[in-house]
C-alpha cells in the first residue's frame, strides 16, 4: 500500500494532509491580510498626518511670505522704528579707508559726520486704488493721488 492510499480513521492520509495544508494556508492568508490591513491603516493614518502637516507647513510658509513682504516690513519699520534704506553714500569698503583717513585728517571730521538722515516717508496710499487697510500708526502723507 502506497503512502497516498494509507487511511487514518477512515480518511485517506493524503486528504488529511491536503485539508491541513488548506487550513494552514487559509489561516496564514487571514493573518497576513489582517496584519497587512493593520499596517496599511497605520500607513494611511501617518500619510494623512503628513499631508495635514504639509498643508499646515505650506500655510505657514505663505503666512511667513506675507509677513516678510518687503513693502509691509518697510511700512512697519517706518511707522514704528523710523528706519530707512541705507544710502549708498554710507557704503564703504576697505579700499575707501585711505580716502576716509585723508578726509578726516584734512577736515577733522569723518565723512558723513553730522549728516542728517532724511526721514523716510511711507507711501501713504494704496497703489491698487482700493480703500487702504488699517495700518498701525501710519502717519498720513499729504499729496496722495486723486485717483
Amino acid at each position: 500500500m502506497s503512502l497516498l492510499d494509507r487511511k487514518v480513521r477512515g480518511f485517506r492520509l493524503v486528504d488529511l494532509v491536503a485539508v491541513a495544508l488548506l487550513v494552514a494556508l487559509v489561516l496564514g492568508t487571514y493573518l497576513a491580510k489582517t496584519m497587512a490591513g493593520r499596517e496599511r491603516a497605520e500607513i494611511a493614518s501617518i500619510e494623512r498626518q503628513i499631508g495635514e502637516e504639509k498643508a499646515r507647513t505650506r500655510l505657514l510658509e505663505a503666512e511667513v511670505a506675507h509677513l516678510e513682504d518687503p513693502a509691509r516690513l518697510e511700512r512697519l519699520s517706518v511707522a514704528y522704528l523710523g528706519l530707512a534704506p541705507v544710502s549708498i553714500k554710507r557704503d564703504v569698503g576697505p579700499r575707501d579707508l585711505t580716502d576716509i583717513a585723508r578726509t578726516a585728517a584734512n577736515t577733522g571730521k569723518l565723512p558723513g559726520e553730522g549728516m542728517s538722515v532724511k526721514p523716510h516717508q511711507p507711501l501713504g496710499f494704496d497703489p491698487t486704488g482700493h480703500p487702504p487697510e488699517p495700518q498701525p500708526a501710519s502717519p498720513p502723507v499729504a499729496g496722495a493721488p486723486a485717483r
Binding site: 500619510e47 549708498i88 564703504v92 496710499f125 497703489p127
Partner: protein, 583 residues
C-alpha cells in the same frame, strides 16, 4: 510571439494539441480495449485536478500581488486633481510668490437637515461672508449643493465644531499670492479653474501644472528685494506727480532677466475680479507709447555704428530743420552748432533729425527692425503688445522716429533695444524665468561692442552734464537718457500740450569693459502732473529722480560696488547751464 510561433511552426503546434485532445477523448476506448477502465477515470480526475490547481495558483498569485504590491489607497486624499493643481512660484532667491493652499468648499444637503432655521442661524454666525441668497437656495433645494468655497482649515474646523447635520466639506486647492500687490503684474493671476490668465501664471501655465505633480517650484527672474525697492520708489514718484499710469523695469543686460517690473495702478492678484481692467493692465508689456527722446539713444547708436557719426561730429542746431513737409524745432533752442554728445545732452531734436537724415531711411528702418522695435517685445509674457510703426520708412518718418515720435512701442520693447545697446550689441530675449548663474544668452549682433562703449560714455555724459542729472548716484556711474513725448489727442487730432509721457532710460555702471555686470532701469510716467514746485514734469523731473533712487537702493542687491566717478566728455559741455532738457 509571432516569431516564436513561426519558428516552431503553427501547424506543428496545432497538430500536437489535436493529437493530445484526441488521445484524451479516446482514452476510455483504449482503456476498455486494454481492459483497464480505471486508468481512464484516473486520467480524467488528473486533468480536472490539474485545471483546478492551475486556476487556484493563478488566483493565489493574483491575491499575493494585490496584497503586497497594491498602490491603491496611498496618499493623503487631500491633494487636488493634477489638472487643476499648480506648482509654486518663487523669486530668484526662493521667496514664495504664489502657492496652492488647501482650502475647503462648504456643501449643504437639505435632505439631512432637521432644523433649517438653526442651520441658517449657526452658519451665518460662523461665516459672516456667506451669501444669504445662496444659503437660502441650498436649504430649500432638493440635493447636495455647493454654498461657499475658499474656507481655510481654521474656518472649516469652526463650522465643523458646530456639528450641523447635512453640512459637509470638500477639499479644494486655491491659488494664493501671499505678497498681495507686490510684483502682481509679473506674477499674474489665475481664473477660478486654476488656469493662468496673465503674467508668469499665464506664460508658463502648462509648465506650472506639470510642476505640481513633482512638488517642484518655478523660480522667476524677479528679485523680490529689487521689486520692492522699484515699486516703493515708483509709487513715491506717483504720489508726487499723480500720473495716470507708471512703469518701472529693471533688467540684467547680459542675461535679459527682468529683475523687477512695477506698474501703477496695480491690483491684488488674490482678488483680480475686484480690480479694474486699467489696474490689471501690464503697462510695461501691453501698453504702447510714443516714448519721445529716449529714442535718441537708438538714433545716436545707429549713427555711431554705421560710421556716419562720431561723438565729436557736429550738427547745426541754430535754425529749425526743414524736412519733407515738416519743420523740426528744439524745445529749448540752443541756437548753436552742437557736437553729437551735446545733441544727446541737450536732447536736440534738430541735431537728432539731421543725424537721422544722414543715416538715411533704409538704414534707420533696418536698424529699428534689428533692435526689435518693429515687433512685440520678445518675452514670455502673453501680454507683449505689437508696436505701431510707420507704414513707409521715408525721410519724414525717419525724422520723427529719430526723436521718438511716429512710433508707438511698449516699455519692454524699448528696454530690450536698450539692453542690446548696453551689453555689447547682442539682442537677447527678455525673460521672466530665472536663468542659471553665469548662463550665456546669445542673440543676433545688432551693433558693435565699440558702439556700446561709446554710447555708454555718452549716456554717462548726459547724467553728469545733461538732462539726466537728477538720476546721478555718487559712485555708481549712472548713464541715461530722458524722454518726454507729448501724447496724441484723438479728439483734437493734435498733440496735446498738457498730456505727456515722461521717461528715463538708465544704465549702470557705465564704466568698465562691455562684459562687466550691468543693469538697465526704465522709469515711465504716463500723463504726470506738475508737483508742488509747479515744474513741467518732463522725463528729467518726473522719471530720472525715481530711476536714480531705484539704482541707489538696488546696487547692493546686484553686487555693484561704489567706484570712482567718471565724467566723460566734460570738456565738451563747458557751460553746465546749457544742459536744459528738451522734449
Amino acid at each position: 510571439m509571432s516569431l516564436g510561433l513561426q519558428s516552431l511552426g503553427a501547424e506543428t503546434i496545432s497538430r500536437w494539441l489535436s493529437r493530445i485532445m484526441w488521445r484524451l477523448e479516446h482514452a476510455f476506448e483504449r482503456a476498455r480495449a486494454s481492459d483497464k477502465p480505471e486508468d481512464d477515470t484516473r486520467i480524467r480526475i488528473f486533468v480536472v485536478g490539474a485545471l483546478f490547481a492551475t486556476g487556484f495558483a493563478a488566483l493565489a498569485i493574483g491575491a499575493t500581488r494585490a496584497a503586497l504590491f497594491n498602490d491603491a489607497g496611498r496618499g493623503d486624499g487631500s491633494t487636488a486633481p493634477v489638472t487643476t493643481a499648480r506648482g509654486d512660484l518663487t523669486d530668484r532667491n526662493g521667496e514664495l510668490l504664489a502657492a496652492d493652499l488647501l482650502h475647503y468648499g462648504l456643501y449643504i444637503d437639505p435632505r439631512e437637515i432637521w432644523d433649517a432655521a438653526e442651520t441658517r442661524r449657526a452658519l451665518r454666525s460662523a461665516l459672516p461672508d456667506l451669501d444669504a441668497a445662496r444659503l437660502e437656495r441650498a436649504l430649500r433645494g432638493g440635493r447636495r449643493t455647493f454654498v461657499m468655497g475658499g474656507l481655510t482649515p481654521q474656518v472649516r474646523s469652526k463650522v465643523y465644531d458646530l456639528g450641523l447635520p447635512g453640512v459637509s466639506f470638500e477639499p479644494e486647492q486655491r491659488r494664493v499670492y501671499p505678497l498681495g500687490y507686490t510684483g502682481a503684474h509679473l506674477v499674474g493671476f489665475v481664473d477660478g479653474g486654476g488656469e493662468g490668465l496673465a503674467g508668469a501664471e499665464g506664460a508658463f501655465n502648462d509648465e506650472i501644472h506639470q510642476l505640481a505633480s513633482g512638488d517642484k517650484t518655478m523660480p522667476l527672474a524677479m528679485d523680490l528685494r529689487i521689486q520692492a525697492a522699484a515699486e516703493d520708489e515708483l509709487y513715491k514718484s506717483v504720489a508726487q506727480f499723480r500720473p495716470k499710469g507708471a512703469v518701472a523695469v529693471v533688467v540684467n543686460v547680459h542675461s535679459g532677466e527682468i529683475l523687477a517690473l512695477a506698474n501703477y495702478p496695480t491690483f491684488n492678484p488674490n482678488e483680480p475680479g475686484r480690480s479694474s481692467l486699467d489696474a490689471r493692465l501690464n503697462r510695461a508689456a501691453a501698453a504702447i507709447y510714443e516714448m519721445g527722446s529716449t529714442f535718441k539713444g537708438f538714433t545716436v547708436a545707429i549713427g555711431l555704428d554705421t560710421g556716419v557719426a562720431t561723438p565729436m561730429s557736429t550738427y547745426d542746431a541754430r535754425q529749425p530743420f526743414h524736412i519733407g513737409y515738416r519743420t523740426i524745432n528744439d524745445f529749448h533752442a540752443t541756437h548753436k552748432v552742437l557736437t553729437l554728445v551735446e545733441v544727446f545732452q541737450h536732447s536736440s531734436n534738430i541735431g537728432t533729425a539731421r543725424l537721422a537724415e544722414q543715416i538715411g531711411p533704409t538704414r534707420m528702418g533696418r536698424y529699428y527692425a534689428a533692435l526689435g522695435l518693429t515687433q512685440p517685445a520678445k518675452v514670455e509674457l502673453m501680454e507683449s503688445a505689437r508696436p505701431l510703426t510707420p507704414k513707409v520708412w521715408d525721410e519724414d518718418a525717419v525724422a520723427s522716429t529719430s526723436f521718438g515720435f511716429g512710433i508707438n512701442v511698449s516699455p519692454l520693447a524699448v528696454t530690450r533695444a536698450y539692453v542690446a545697446l548696453a551689453n555689447g550689441g547682442k539682442l537677447v530675449p527678455l525673460t521672466i524665468r530665472k536663468l542659471p548663474p553665469g548662463a550665456k544668452v546669445d542673440g543676433p549682433q545688432v551693433v558693435s561692442p565699440r558702439t556700446t562703449e561709446q554710447l555708454l560714455q555718452i549716456m554717462r555724459a548726459n547724467v553728469t552734464g545733461g538732462s539726466g542729472k537728477s538720476a546721478n548716484v555718487p559712485g555708481l556711474n549712472v548713464g541715461g537718457k530722458t524722454g518726454t513725448g507729448n501724447k496724441f489727442d484723438p479728439a483734437t487730432r493734435r498733440y496735446s500740450s498738457t498730456k505727456q509721457v515722461s521717461s528715463f532710460a538708465a544704465v549702470f555702471p557705465t564704466d568698465g569693459p562691455v562684459t562687466d555686470p550691468r543693469y538697465f532701469v526704465l522709469v515711465l510716467m504716463d500723463e504726470p502732473r506738475p508737483d508742488a514746485s509747479g515744474a513741467d514734469p518732463t522725463g528729467g523731473i518726473a522719471a530720472a529722480p525715481a530711476a536714480g533712487r531705484i539704482i541707489e537702493r538696488i546696487a547692493p542687491f546686484v553686487g555693484v560696488e561704489r567706484r570712482m566717478d567718471t565724467a566723460p566728455f566734460t570738456e565738451v559741455n563747458a557751460d553746465p547751464n546749457d544742459a536744459k532738457e528738451e522734449h
